[in-house]
């Protein structure tokens, strides 16, 4: 599904190249649940952003679903966002002016899903995440864990084939974190959604089936879990 070949990323500062990623080569297959780990500043977020096409690598090639996407035009990229990729953020990033319901609805509107289909999908998600009672509240009226649930529901609404999550539980207490991780695992196993997450917690990484250890922009270890 994802094929990275010799991905390099550096920032030039006063003529000196500061490498963030060096010669990263890896393959992620459909249905995998990958955790990226490593010390702060190692380049984890950068790697995830490249996978999510939010940043472009300085060098190397990247194929997504068999298509070279290193320099994709806006139209193509947006199509991929609409149909294949769901993002989950550490800081949730829900839209403050929208209710829970509307936040989940937004990607469906962009995807131009019909209204009845939309309603049923949202109802389904609300039900599944146990947040039906909260659907008319605004993000600032929810707890952090609840906000992250909405964030995940939003990512799932468009029925993506892959979810990219950068420290999804970074701002949460362990009980809430566990809930989210269980949910990820379930999504991965029951719905076959590919998940790539960045995490600092060894415990969270155990929910997945593969760990990429990164240090100084280099993949040091690639281990299978469980």
């Amino acid at each position: 599904m994802i094929q990275l070949n010799n991905i390099e990323k550096y920032y030039a500062n006063k003529g000196i190249k500061n490498y963030v990623l060096r010669l990263v080569t890896t393959t992620i297959k459909q249905g995998e649940f990958v955790s990226i780990m490593g010390p702060s500043g190692a380049g984890k977020s950068t790697l995830l952003n490249i996978i999510g096409m939010l940043e472009e690598p300085t060098y190397g090639s990247y194929e997504f679903l068999g298509e070279d996407v290193t320099s994709l035009n806006e139209r193509k990229r947006i199509e991929l966002y609409r149909n294949h990729i769901g993002f989950v953020f550490q800081a949730y990033h829900l839209i403050d002016e929208m209710t829970v319901y509307e936040n989940i609805e937004a990607p469906l509107l962009y995807k131009k899903v019909g209204s009845s289909e939309r309603a049923s999908r949202i109802a389904d998600l609300l039900d599944r995440f146990n947040i039906v009672a909260k659907k008319d509240l605004f993000p600032n009226q929810l707890s952090g864990g609840q906000q992250q649930l909405v964030g995940i529901a939003r990512a799932l609404a468009a029925q993506p084939s892959i979810i990219l999550a950068d420290e999804p539980t970074g701002n949460l207490q362990s009980a809430q974190a566990e809930e989210i991780m269980t949910l990820f695992k379930k999504l991965n196993q029951e719905d076959g959604i590919t998940i790539i997450q960045v995490t600092h917690s060894e415990k969270n990484a155990q929910y997945g089936n593969r760990i990429l250890h990164i240090a100084d922009g280099v993949v040091k270890e690639d281990v299978a879990v469980g």
Binding site: S45, N49, G52, L54, E55, E74, R75, I78, E79, L80, Y81, R82, I85, F87, F89, A91, H93, L94, I95, D96, E97, M98, E102, E105, A106, P107, L109, Y110, K111, R154, A158
Partner: protein
């Protein structure tokens, strides 16, 4: 999708109520000023557009120096009545030519008597020859255009006047008695038609159009003139230039012949660059080009400029606040981008938001206009309406255009900034550090303040000039001086003199409010000089209370005073001789030459506004002095009990002239009228300045709120590190005050140039004062500092723990 975006827009408006109110309210104010101006411009532009046939109607203009305020040649709409025949006979395209009484503006109307009712003053009674309705395509409700003026002593009424006088428009065949001056025996006119009131204003406006026969006559002797306005209907003229060329040739030939008959030399008259001139101008250009006066466009130019500026200031507020606020929406943009939204969709979304706001502003503005329109109409002496406007359709189109322009101007930049946010940066939370928009925002703040400070400086200087003018020595005593609108009549004057409290009764051709300049060329010690001459009665100069500088005033004891003595004003004395008393000059009239002796010099006295210099003038009492047609009857009272005395004067008048109402004006009021135009302008500038300054301050307030909010974390950190509240207020103030200071530096030269231009329009003016500049600077700095400090104080007093916890 659209519905959701609209919902978001409304929610974010509600969330930021104060800024939204400032934004929308400010824009509404800017729009209101602009639309009022637009209404006024539309009104002025609509002159003479009430019929498509008017495009074939032209006004004839002759170049001459009679009646001109400076005694120079000007293109005038008041012409020798012979020009009508000249055009009719020599221009084949002329389908009809008509002569209309000149608009002298002296009398406010004529006295109209219907049967035995009391006389009423009716304004806009115009006299014309029989061709008037062949030229002007009025719609006849009663009678018809072909025959209405066929018979002399006929009159055509506008529907509105017919209703006012008779209560119906079915008035054919009824008669009116018209008295044009107070001892006019009156003319009986038969109503032969009623025309509909046109929907748009007319430069040749009338309430009643008479054919008394006055305009039919052409003076027989070549040396006599009758002056009137001339209009012609031409048969589809494509090229007025060519027509005017042949007209000029015809006129030049005519003048050569006419001057010979009058024993004058063509080459003597037309020398030193003076040339003969006769032309036609399309009727639609007439209102735009009044002779001697500033046209409405020129008068309005500063207002147009100011209202555009005001709109710009409010749009700037809008842009500034929107870009400042965009930080709050950055996350939304970032998230939407990763959810798969196109940039253009984002731009559209934010444009819709600003459209929503400008829509609300527009509604507010329509309400505001309804509220202020009566005051506006009163102030500018117009009858404008918004909903009942005959050009409502044009107006609405203009409004839609304005709405789109404002939306684009106000919304495009913020939308563009917003839609360009990089999602990675935004979602990382580092979007606030971006410098994007800051330079522009600062630039706009400076621009806004340049406008406001320029206004403040201008007000200061204009105020000084106004004070200077209202306190200026006029050269005559305007208190307890009354001018009755009528000619001098010895027996009536005698009656008035008997009233206790009346000191002098006199007449003059030149007094503030009604000055009639007559040029004359004199020969003094062999030199030819151009002078203005004024005819006065014996008592005129004492009753005006002028000051004698040399010699004496006229007096009955000097027999020669009614024959050949003159008094000069200072300006004339400066031209002639420093010590002219006792000396004499001569004038030439054809072959003959007359000698006049100078007996006195008086201080210049003003009879026009302060924009015009006092002309070098010669005062004479001729044997005609008492009876010539001056339309000024001066009454000098020696008591302040004016009301009581005027009642007695009024009853004398009623006895002498029962069919004509008396009209008079105290010279104090006349002077107030002279200042009025100027005061009106200044009041408007003051109003606009207040609006502009408050808009700028509101903008600054809102902007400082945002900056304070955005720097909450920084402020909190500094406080934790031990900064005092004052230090923090200073920190936030510094950047804004720098901007205001820069704005001051830019405004100084701009204000100087603009106000200098305005001052130069006055012949009598103050020197450019310095202190308004300093005051503007101090005021702007202090007020801005206070405005910003309100927010800065809030930020400084905030609880740092709170700010740091929820960064």
């Amino acid at each position: 999708m659209f519905k959701l975006n609209l919902k978001i827009a409304l929610r974010s408006l509600f969330k930021n109520k104060v800024y939204a109110a400032i934004n929308i309210g400010g824009l509404a104010i800017g729009l209101t000023a602009f639309i009022l101006m637009l209404l006024y411009v539309n009104h002025e532009e609509s002159y003479d557009t009430w019929s498509p046939q008017l495009k074939d109607v032209y006004q004839v203009r002759e170049k001459h120096s009679f009646f001109s305020p400076d005694n120079e040649d000007h293109w005038q709409e008041i012409n020798d009545s012979r020009m009508a025949n000249l055009v009719r006979e020599n221009i084949p395209q002329a389908l009809a030519v008509t002569r209309v009484t000149a608009d002298w503006g002296f009398s406010s109307g004529y006295s109209v008597k219907i049967a035995h009712a009391d006389p009423v003053m009716v304004t806009g009674m115009k006299d014309a020859d029989s061709s008037f309705f062949q030229v002007f395509p009025y719609e006849f409700l009663q009678g018809d255009s072909e025959s209405a003026l066929n018979a002399p002593k006929s009159v055509v009424l506008k529907e509105s006047l017919a209703r006012k006088l008779f209560g119906t428009e079915k008035v054919l065949g009824k008669t009116l008695k018209v008295l044009m001056w107070r001892n006019d025996p009156g003319t009986d006119l038969t109503i032969t038609g009623v025309v509909a009131d046109p929907v748009t204003p007319q430069s040749v406006g009338f309430n009643a159009l008479m054919r008394t026969g006055e305009e039919d006559k052409v003076p027989e002797s070549a040396g006599n003139f009758h002056y009137c306005q001339i209009y012609t209907k031409l048969n589809q003229v494509a090229d007025t230039g060519a027509l005017n060329q042949s007209l000029l040739k015809i006129y030049t030939d005519y003048q050569k012949k006419s001057l010979v008959q009058r024993k004058l030399q063509y080459n003597e008259i037309y020398k030193n660059g003076k040339t003969p001139g006769l032309k036609v101008i399309p009727l639609k250009d007439v209102h735009l080009n009044p002779p001697f006066k500033l046209s409405w466009v020129e008068k309005l130019r500063p207002v147009i400029g100011i209202s555009i500026f005001l709109l710009v200031v409010s749009i700037i507020n809008f842009v500034n606040l929107a870009t400042a606020q965009s930080v709050q929406r950055a996350k939304e943009v970032g998230v939407k981008k990763v959810l798969g939204v196109y940039k253009r969709e984002l731009i559209a979304q934010f444009l819709v938001e600003s459209a929503l706001q400008s829509m609300i502003s527009l509604f507010l503005c329509v309400v505001l206009i309804e509220v202020v329109l009566p005051t506006f109409n009163h102030h500018f002496n117009v009858q404008l309406s918004f909903w009942l406007n005959p050009q409502l359709k044009t107006m609405l189109i203009q409004l839609i255009g304005l709405f789109s322009v404002v939306t684009l101007l106000a919304g495009f930049y913020p939308s563009w900034v917003l839609s360009n946010y990089n999602p990675v940066a935004v979602l990382k939370g580092s979007y606030e550090s971006g410098l994007k928009g800051v330079v522009l925002r600062n630039g706009l703040v400076v621009f806004q303040f340049v406008i406001s400070i320029t206004f403040i400086i201008a007000i200061g200087i204009m105020h000084r000039q106004t004070q200077f003018m209202s306190n200026k020595d006029l050269g005559f005593e305007r208190g307890e001086l009354v001018n009755i609108k009528t000619n001098y009549d010895e027996s009536f004057a005698e009656k008035l003199r008997k009233i206790p409290g009346v000191q002098y009764v006199a007449t003059t051709t030149q007094v503030m409010g009604n000055a009639f300049n007559v040029p004359e060329e004199i020969i003094y010690k062999g030199k030819q000089l151009n002078m203005n001459t004024v005819t006065v009665s014996m008592d005129a100069l004492p009753s005006l209370g002028v000051r004698v500088l040399q010699g004496r005033l006229f007096a009955k004891t000097y027999k020669q005073d009614t024959i050949n003595t003159v008094i000069l004003n200072e300006a004339a004395a400066n031209l002639i001789d420093k010590k002219p008393v006792g000396k004499s000059y001569s004038i030439k009239d054809g072959d003959k030459s007359y000698v006049f002796q100078i007996v006195g010099v008086i201080k210049n006295y003003h009879n026009e506004g302060f924009d015009k210099a006092v002309l070098p003038t010669i005062y004479k009492v001729t044997h005609l002095g008492g009876t010539s047609s001056t339309n000024n009857l001066l009454l000098r009272l020696n008591t302040s009990n004016t009301g009581e005395i005027m009642k007695k004067v009024q009853s004398e008048w009623k006895q002498a002239y029962p069919d004509y109402p008396m009209e008079y004006k105290a010279m104090d009021d006349v002077f107030a009228d002279v200042l009025k135009e100027n005061n009106r302008f200044i009041n408007m500038i003051v109003l606009f300045s207040i609006l502009s300054v408050s808009l700028s301050l509101l903008g600054l307030f809102a902007l400082s709120t945002f900056v304070a909010k955005r720097r909450t974390k920084e402020v909190a950190v500094r406080k934790v590190l031990g900064a005092s509240n004052l230090q923090i207020i200073n920190l936030l103030n510094r950047s804004f005050l720098l901007l205001v200071l820069i704005a001051n530096l830019i405004s100084w030269p701009i204000a100087y140039i603009l106000v200098k231009k305005w001052l130069d329009g006055f012949a009598y003016r103050i020197d450019m004062p310095v202190y308004p500049f300093l005051i503007a600077t101090i005021v702007s700095l202090v007020v801005s500092a206070l405005t910003v400090s309100i927010q800065a104080r809030k930020a400084a007093n905030g609880d740092p723990v709170h700010a740091l916890k929820y960064e």
